[in-house]
């Protein structure tokens, strides 16, 4: 036994020595490699081992996509990857216009319930299948499945008729001005034949679309690789040979990867990281891209359940509470100025936005006056809730707001909840008379935000019920003409400003950064981007 011990120990020692040697050797190697520092990061990316002339775009993702298919991908990250692979019948371009994509053209019947799409005849899927009307029908059919995240965008269509190989008729029960936008959002056309061949799971793991890039590999949590589709119908696109998406959940790491030239496009940067990029933009090959994000932070009044019978039912009280907050100070102190004030749920860039409707100014005198008019000269007490650890600095904002209200005599009992519980209670309408949250929109219109927040009893997350508003939101759906619809939006913006169901807080500034070699990268206010036209110098 003793002998075995000796051997065992010597084995450990030998292993330690060997390990030491390896480590020292490794270090020595590192030092040698230190000389050509510039080439170092290039070595890191396996994709760069390809011939030098290959243009590779390296994009950081803020989260791991659950799928990379438009109807099931549940985050902006997922859909941004998905739209490199898939295409819909129509496309919302950078100017906010609906333009042809897989459909060459379409007509809408007088009553707005029949859409006839003429499909392109020169389109192939990545696996070589020809794109036909059958694939559109199949995509619609599959999209209605109970496990499809955005099935409501497919259920919006009542029926579909295949007229011939390249013509489909889409039948609606009633006019829906949002239909083309819904298609643009979630109708990524799937290949029927390929789906039959590999099944739903197989399709999700190795997706095939008609888009500018074809799927190569997905290593969970590590990378998603796509390459240019040679038979892409839109000549001259895409502009790069390969795209590599890398999930990097931590924003500091994304920032570091950009500075070390290991990545070309990063999004979701924190304001302090944006500031340090601004400081070195002249010396380094990086460029900051910033824009107000199409997301409105607000505090809602709840007149559907817990707020019934409380002062917030009075219009003057809600106006007074809007006047009582020093929004600019909040933006300045809490966000270092990196946020925009907003006058309502229709924000700049949205259809029907009207700059003449201005945000409520900070006017505590006026607030006191209005409170007195409403019969609350000494203020009142009320409860408010907010989600914790969900939005950047949002807890601080709500606390500041409660402080400003305290100054006009409104005592707020503020409670923060774990976000999951918060949203459960929001869906079951059990939150207090006041609660803070945010609502984004990616359609270029405020419709989803309005439908969800003031759309009536059928909107699970709505806390404010005003029959007139419900009708106005309904009017949006029934107005296919853009100009007429814009007028409806403006009317809603004005109405919701005068009789506010919400305290409109701010729109956060989104920060992204790119390597200077990247050309033609235009993220949208919804944080969407399309890589079809993005190139590398």
């Amino acid at each position: 036994m003793k002998k075995i011990h000796g051997k065992y120990l010597w084995f450990i020692l030998l292993a330690l020595v060997l390990a030491g040697a390896v480590l020292v050797g490794g270090c020595a190697e590192e030092v040698v490699e230190e000389e050509p520092v510039d080439e170092e990061p290039v070595d890191e990316e396996p994709v760069d081992e390809e011939p030098a002339e290959e243009a590779v775009l390296r994009v950081a993702l803020t989260t791991n996509p659950n799928t990379i298919e438009p109807a099931t991908g549940d985050t902006r990250t997922a859909s941004n990857v998905a739209w490199s692979i898939f295409e819909s019948l129509v496309w919302l371009n950078d100017e906010g216009e609906i333009v042809p994509s897989l459909a060459r053209d379409w007509t809408i019947s007088e009553d707005g319930t029949l859409y006839t799409f003429e499909l392109r005849e020169d389109v192939y899927f990545h696996n070589g299948d020809k794109f036909t009307a059958e694939d559109v029908y199949f995509t619609w059919e599959r999209g209605q499945g109970s496990d499809i995240t955005y099935r409501e965008d497919f259920l919006a269509v009542a029926d579909m008729n295949i007229i011939d190989e390249y013509t489909v008729e889409v039948v609606l029960d009633e006019p829906n001005a949002m239909l083309l936008l819904q298609m643009n959002e979630h109708w990524g056309i799937l290949s029927k034949d390929y789906h039959e061949e590999v099944g739903e799971d197989g399709y999700m793991q190795s997706p095939v679309g008609t888009g500018p890039f074809m799927f190569v590999e997905w290593r969970a949590g590590d990378r998603i690789e796509l390459e240019a589709f040679e038979d892409y119908w839109d000549d001259g696109y895409p502009k790069v040979d390969r795209v590599v998406y890398r999930p990097i959940p931590e924003s500091s790491t994304r920032y570091a990867a950009l500075m070390a030239d290991e990545i070309d496009i990063v999004s979701g940067l924190a304001p302090e990281q944006a500031e340090s990029i601004m400081a070195v933009e002249d010396e380094e090959d990086v460029k900051l891209v910033s824009y107000p994000h199409d997301r409105v932070f607000y505090i809602t009044f709840n007149n559907m359940t817990t707020g019934i019978g409380t002062p917030i039912e009075e219009q003057e009280v809600r106006q007074a509470m809007s006047y009582a907050i020093d929004y600019d100070l909040i933006i300045d102190r809490i966000f270092d100025g990196h946020a925009e004030r907003t006058a309502g749920f229709v924000v700049p860039g949205n259809l029907g936005y009207d700059p003449s409707i201005e945000p409520y100014p900070y006017d505590p005198e006026k607030a006191l006056e209005l409170l007195a008019e409403a019969g609350y000269p000494d203020g009142f007490s009320i409860e408010m809730a907010g989600p914790s650890d969900t939005y950047v600095n949002f807890e601080d904002v709500l606390q500041a707001v409660a402080g400003f209200w305290g100054e006009v005599g409104i005592e707020v009992d503020l409670e923060f909840m774990e976000s999951g519980r918060f949203w459960d209670l929001q869906a079951s309408r059990e939150l207090p008379p006041l609660f803070g949250d945010s609502w984004s929109s990616s359609m270029g219109e405020a419709y989803p935000r309005l439908l969800g927040s003031v759309g009536g009893e059928d909107a699970s997350y709505a806390a404010w019920l005003d029959p007139k508003l419900v009708d106005m939101v309904r009017q949006i759906e029934l107005t296919p003409d853009d100009n007429e619809r814009a007028a409806v939006y403006t009317e809603i913006l004005e109405y919701m400003h005068e009789d506010p169901p919400f305290i409109y807080l701010y729109q956060p500034t989104a920060f992204e950064a790119i390597n200077e070699r990247v050309q033609n990268y235009n993220p949208r206010v919804s944080e969407q981007y399309y890589l079809k036209g993005v190139g590398i110098e």
Partner: protein
């Protein structure tokens, strides 16, 4: 024991509600939410849900991840190699650094070396890994360019995917806590053994220093070190949420962080099950190694 873990994780998760509201779009109607809840079975009594889960788990079915629409255990298995790599390299670094520092400190009590060893031991255990990870990235990746800032890259050797130097920074950051602990334990074990009479005897016989250390001191301080290494390895293997998140290392910790924030219940449960399985298994292995090192220890 595993049953207890399953029970605990299941009920703790269900205390937070259910994932249905996170799965529907935000303008879903109450009836849509109710329909989905019913379809997924979250409207049933919680004990029924647990029984269902348990009977399936015993047959090796740990449920489907809602988000990924794949069997939860498959997702866990996919991430295991990356975590095992990281844990092994981190443990290796920790043993190398921790034991060396501990021996140096313990054999020269109250010297400068000893203070340094104690300092490093303390630092290793108290320094926040999150902060350390970022500092390492800034110094060694951004400024010096020696290592990549994030991710896992591998090269192929005999058909195996071997991680390249991308593993160095995350493994080092991960190893520091264990290094600190090992350094402290080794130091005190060596210190204790140094004063034993058999060591004095060995010295008086004029044995060479290396022989005294290898045959008498190290061997006799091995038992506490092995138990520490066993415990630490199971801790490292369960995946570090912080380190894997900072370095975008595609392992279990990274997966778990995401599963928790998206309330992907079955995925969290599968990860917890696997982790407890590893911890219990490693405990067994540690006990067996005791036997090998110290023949006086016998299990009957």
């Amino acid at each position: 024991m595993l049953l207890g873990v399953l029970f605990l994780v299941f009920f703790l998760l269900h205390l937070t509600g259910d994932p249905v509201t996170l799965m529907v779009s935000r303008h879903a109607s109450p009836s849509e939410i109710a329909a989905l809840r019913q379809e997924l079975g979250f409207d049933r009594p919680i004990l029924v849900q647990f029984w269902d889960y348990l009977t399936n788990a015993l047959q090796g079915d740990f449920g489907h991840s809602f988000r990924y629409r794949q069997p939860a255990m498959n997702l866990v298995m996919e991430r295991i190699p990356a975590t095992i790599e990281l844990a092994s390299v981190a443990l290796f670094m920790a043993i190398l650094m921790g034991v060396t520092i501990g021996i140096l400190g313990g054999s020269n009590p109250n010297s400068i070396l000893d203070s340094l060893a104690r300092g490093i031991g303390l630092l290793g255990q108290t320094i926040p890994t999150f902060w350390l990870g970022l500092i390492l990235i800034i110094i060694f990746s951004v400024n010096l360019g020696w290592f990549p800032t994030y991710g896992r890259s591998t090269f192929e050797l005999f058909g195996l995917n071997i991680p390249d130097k991308s593993i160095v920074l995350p493994a080092f950051a991960l190893s520091l806590f264990t290094t600190g602990q090992l350094a402290r334990f080794t130091r005190s074990a060596v210190l204790e053994v140094m004063n034993e009479e058999y060591v004095t005897t060995a010295r008086s016989k004029g044995l060479r220093k290396i022989r005294i250390y290898s045959r008498y001191i190290l061997k006799n301080s091995a038992i506490p070190m092995i138990s520490i290494i066993g415990v630490q390895f199971s801790y490292l293997l369960s995946g570090s949420i912080y380190i894997e998140t900072i370095f975008s290392w595609p392992g279990l910790g990274n997966l778990l962080a995401e599963a928790v924030s998206t309330r992907d219940f079955f995925l969290v449960q599968a990860t917890a099950f696997f982790t407890s399985f590893v911890v219990i298994g490693l405990q067994l292995v540690t006990d067996l190694i005791y036997m090998l090192v110290d023949p006086r220890i016998r299990y009957r």
